[in-house]
């Protein structure tokens, strides 16, 4: 199933790593990149991705704020947000899901969890995985 993905992280080297991982999957396309929450809002509007892969800690507008605004503006579009973050914290994960995200994976295990996470959230299933616990998908 084709999936159009927007990558949002303030580190270009992280975006490059995510891109090499995602573009290995047939039918998946990274349609754009953003380096902060404000740029992300703009690119969601213009590119209409299926999934936004979003970091939490970014300059300007952080990922949680961006997620809330994205979800408020894109209510009927079917777009889903997947957080990929350094914060290996159940509390942060709860904040992310409360902000409207469908998925949450930790950067230290992104190579292990990312593909499965994108697959799940693109089908509107929740996917969460902290570093020390097995993933949950429903």
């Amino acid at each position: 199933m084709p999936v159009r993905i927007l990558l949002v992280d303030d580190h270009p080297i992280v975006r490059q790593g995510l891109r090499t991982l995602l573009e290995g999957r047939s039918g998946w396309e990274v349609v754009g990149e953003a380096s902060d929450g404000i740029e992300a809002l703009d690119k969601v509007q213009t590119l209409q991705p299926d999934v936004v892969v979003l970091d939490v800690t970014m300059p300007g507008m952080n990922g949680l704020e961006a997620c809330r605004l994205i979800q408020r503006r894109q209510k009927t579009s079917g777009l889903e947000v997947l957080f990929v973050t350094q914060h290996d914290s159940p509390q942060m994960m709860r904040e992310a899901l409360d902000a409207g995200a469908r998925g949450y994976v930790v950067k230290s295990n992104a190579a292990r969890d990312l593909l499965e996470a994108v697959e799940a959230v693109s089908q509107h299933r929740v996917f969460t995985a902290l570093a020390r616990s097995p993933h949950a998908s429903c």
Partner: protein
């Protein structure tokens, strides 16, 4: 002859990004990847890379101590430190540890290739944002680069710094002993010596000390401001 580069970062995603960036450069080869400092030191001894790129914030053995151990083993190693912070103290410690390059992770896509090229030409490289800071620091204080103990931690041995990091990461003495291939009793002795030398009274004090002295790094979560929708121009 290819330039052989060893990467050390605990995030595979970052290593993939670095690999992708470096291997586009003709004549360069990523000869190995390590996910912590200890692994990096062992791999470097075996692979003898031309350049080692180390993340500062790695588990088990941080990037600064990795740099020190690499250069103790072979002063010819050329090390570039990758970091998320450009604080004065971190820069100074990286230089004192013997690093020849200092690149901010946020600028790595722009600066890392230049850094490797500089080191290959026997020059040092600092991400432009810290260049002025480094020069100002050297001119003002007549700072001398030393490859021995870091100035902020004059009383801890290299082994004690290793034990400090592992304890601050939350490992028990038994777990530290396993990582370092020591007896638990030896680790307990190191622990007592560390606490005594630094006048610390609890593990919490030790963690605070380790954070202040860049032995471990933590990332603070963002402040959550729940506001009305922001108007974006």
């Amino acid at each position: 002859m290819k330039v052989r580069i060893l990467l050390a970062d605990d995030h595979e995603i970052v290593r993939r990004g670095l690999c992708s960036l470096l291997q586009k450069h003709e004549g360069w080869e990523v000869c190995g990847e390590a996910s912590d400092g200890r692994e990096a030191v062992e791999m470097a001894k075996h692979l003898k890379p031309d350049v080692v790129i180390v993340d500062i914030g790695m588990p088990h053995l941080n990037g600064l101590d990795t740099t020190r151990q690499l250069l103790q083993h072979d002063p010819q190693f050329k090390v570039i430190v990758l970091t998320i912070t450009d604080s004065d103290q971190v820069i100074r410690e990286a230089l004192d540890a013997g690093a020849r390059g200092f690149v901010l992770k946020s600028d790595a896509a722009r600066d890392l290739v230049s850094a490797v090229e500089a080191l290959q030409s026997k020059r040092m490289f600092f991400t432009p944002r810290v260049n002025d800071l480094v020069l100002a620091g050297f001119l003002e204080k007549g700072h001398a680069i030393s490859r021995n103990e870091p100035p902020n931690l004059p009383t801890l041995t290299a082994r004690e710094r290793e034990v400090t990091q592992l304890l601050a990461e939350g490992k028990s003495s038994k777990e530290v002993a396993t990582v370092l291939n020591l007896s638990t009793k030896t680790v307990e002795t190191h622990r007592s010596n560390i606490m005594r030398k630094l006048s610390l009274h609890s593990i919490r004090d030790l963690v605070v000390y380790a954070i202040k002295n860049n032995i471990i790094q933590i990332q603070m979560p963002p402040r959550i401001h729940r506001t009305e929708e922001t108007t974006v121009a």
